[in-house]
Symmetry: C2
Subunit: 68 residues, 2 copies
């Protein structure tokens, strides 16, 4: 399921930056429980929030969706 794959992808990328879920969510001005549920694949996240995450990770949307 795409929501699961996306959650796994952003978790790997965030861990690669060595930042906690809480710090990352804070840095992109996103509720931390909402962000955690996105990583868990439980949210049908919107394109605006996907963009927010890409910006927080410092990558393009193309890079974010690499392999997906």
């Amino acid at each position: 399921m795409i929501t699961k794959e996306f959650g796994q992808r952003i978790k790997i990328l965030r861990n690669g930056l060595g930042i906690s879920q809480e710090k990352f969510a804070l840095s992109i001005d996103m509720d931390r429980t909402y962000y955690a549920s996105v990583e868990s694949g439980k949210r049908n996240i919107s394109i605006k929030n996907i963009e927010k995450i890409a910006n927080g990770l410092g990558i393009t949307l193309e890079e974010l969706f690499k392999g997906l």
Copy 2:
């Protein structure tokens, strides 16, 4: 704005296939007025619907977001 950029992107790709909005929306089981508003950049589309569109275009999400 990402919704505008995404709309322009899918419009170009759909036109490349030579299919009308109506036919394309029908092929992916999406309401045609909803699909038209996505192409116009008026919708904060969700990842599940983004995936539906990628599948309809016959490309990966990575390809769909190329350059975005």
